[in-house]
């Protein structure tokens, strides 16, 4: 279980996140929503130790994250950043890099790593492209390759920063299905999403952020008021066409 307690932090002395206390239980798909610049990305970076908190603590399974080594954290928490350079590698090599936290010296991927990487590629449906260069893929395919890398890392907590960006609607829904399935099989999945309809539909748990603070947290149906305030919109349940995975 990942727990944040009175967490504060940000860049260059500006607290993008202030006094956030949350707990992310196992086996749940949590979606963080909020307007641009409300501290969602900062919260994810604080939660996986990429950013040192100015105040408060992050604990994973009862242990304080800042006392753990980078490699140990990487075996327990994976993180998909929003933007990345395009690597000069094939899809298979990229996915294999998900096994890096488990490597000893001399850093050579073993048969077991290869097997896990193949399973991950099949799971997200990128196996057919495994020998393609990442620079030759479409944005959506590249996102899938990164997702396979995250699966190969095989961590109990998965953090994803806007994973649906660059994806067409079909791929977006596939991805959300996959994330909620990973939640059902016992992973702690936490994603930042922009599409409120998708967030309300797929998440087990919603966290609403505004100005660096958490204004509401709970089942999708219980956070509608906070959502309206956070985005300055009104929510209305309507009957309409719905796209879903076949």
């Amino acid at each position: 279980m990942l727990e944040l307690s009175h967490l504060c932090g940000g860049y260059g002395g500006i607290a993008a996140v202030s006094d956030v206390s949350l707990s992310f239980p196992k086996g749940r798909f949590t979606v963080i929503v909020g307007s641009n610049g409300c501290g969602k990305t900062t919260l994810l970076k604080l939660s996986c130790g990429q950013l040192r908190p100015v105040g408060g603590t992050v604990t994973l399974g009862g242990r304080v994250l800042s006392s753990m080594k980078g490699k140990e954290i990487a075996q327990k928490i994976s993180y998909l950043p929003q933007s990345r350079p395009i690597p000069d590698t094939t899809v298979e090599t990229l996915v294999l890099h998900g096994r890096f936290p488990y490597l000893g010296y001399p850093r050579v991927y073993q048969g077991n790593d290869l097997r896990i990487a193949r399973q991950a590629m099949e799971k997200v449906g990128i196996a057919a492209h495994k020998n393609k260069l990442a620079s030759k893929l479409s944005g959506g395919e590249r996102q899938k390759a990164y997702l396979a890398m995250l699966l190969a890392q095989d961590t109990e907590v998965m953090l994803l920063d806007e994973p649906t960006t660059y994806l067409d609607i079909g791929c977006q829904l596939d991805l959300l299905e996959l994330l909620s399935e990973l939640g059902r099989v016992g992973k702690t999945v936490i994603a930042v999403l922009h599409d409120l309809n998708q967030a309300l539909r797929y998440a087990d748990n919603i966290v609403v952020m505004r100005g660096g603070r958490v204004t509401a947290e709970g089942l999708p149906s219980s956070v509608l008021d906070a959502l309206e305030q956070a985005f300055g919109v009104t929510a209305k349940l309507e009957e309409r066409y719905e796209f879903s995975v076949k």
Partner: protein, 332 residues
Amino acid sequence: MKFLKKSCMSDKKLLFICVLTLLAAFLLSLGLGAVHLSPPDVLRGIFEGDATTRGRIILHVRLPRSFAALLCGGGLAVSGLIIQTVLANPLASPGILGVNGGAGLAAALCGVILPPLFLPLAAFIGAFATVLLVYAIAKKAGASKMTLILSGVAISSLMTAGINTVVTLFPDALIGTHYFQTGGFAGVSSRVLYPAGAFILVGGLAAYTLSAELDILGLGESTALSLGLNAGVYRFVFLTLAAALAGASVSVAGLLGFVGLIVPHIAKMLTRGSRSLISVSALMGGSFLLLCDTAARTVFAPFEIPVGILVSFLGVPFFLWILFRERRRANA
């Protein structure tokens, strides 16, 4: 370049071909010149040593020069690979970013006051200071690749101005030749080659043992951190290695640009992200510079052009090609 992308061979085969090419280039470089020697002649010359003219040419002229080209080619290629990867900028190279210039300025200053033994160390210090400056600029520039390249151009000009000042004030200084400013191997001295070679071999070996970490760093800081790699520490280690390799190469070959740009790109196309990227870059860099140097001193015989001129003729179109490829990718 299409055929390069399509070729798909195993790592071992690729490494084997690279080693063979390097050996062939080395033999060619020993054999061709003002006096042409066949491969058996070259071998005989090595064993005869100072006893024959043939032996003296091989031992005192060709061997030091070929080793210099091999080592500098490998050193500049690996330095370029590291710089491109760490700064996530395919247009970067030690020449374009002014790292070679920084090494040259430090070497020029050192040439005025210290014996040649210290040249590689001074060049390393100059390269290292410039690399840190470039990195600070890269951090400030953020995602803008072109800002970094343009500041590299500015830094390069500044360093060249510095070198020219030193050469004007001290015309007898060690590096006052125009070979130094264009890059070339005429008049390689073993007094510089030995310490520089040691720098390059140790730096290259260190880079080789850290090749997995370099791959991970190439995925970007955030991804590297999420995979448990201490990105800050390794970035510093790699930039130090890049400076050592470029600095030592510059102390021998002068301001030789473009090797660090061209070779890593071709090596990347051939290896497609496999572990052998550093070895392939080093081997190809050595072969490339050996072949270029051999061509530079034989094609226009009896005239010899500095190899830096030849490399620039090849490097500039290559740079433009990478530039336009990047623009296509950015628009796609």
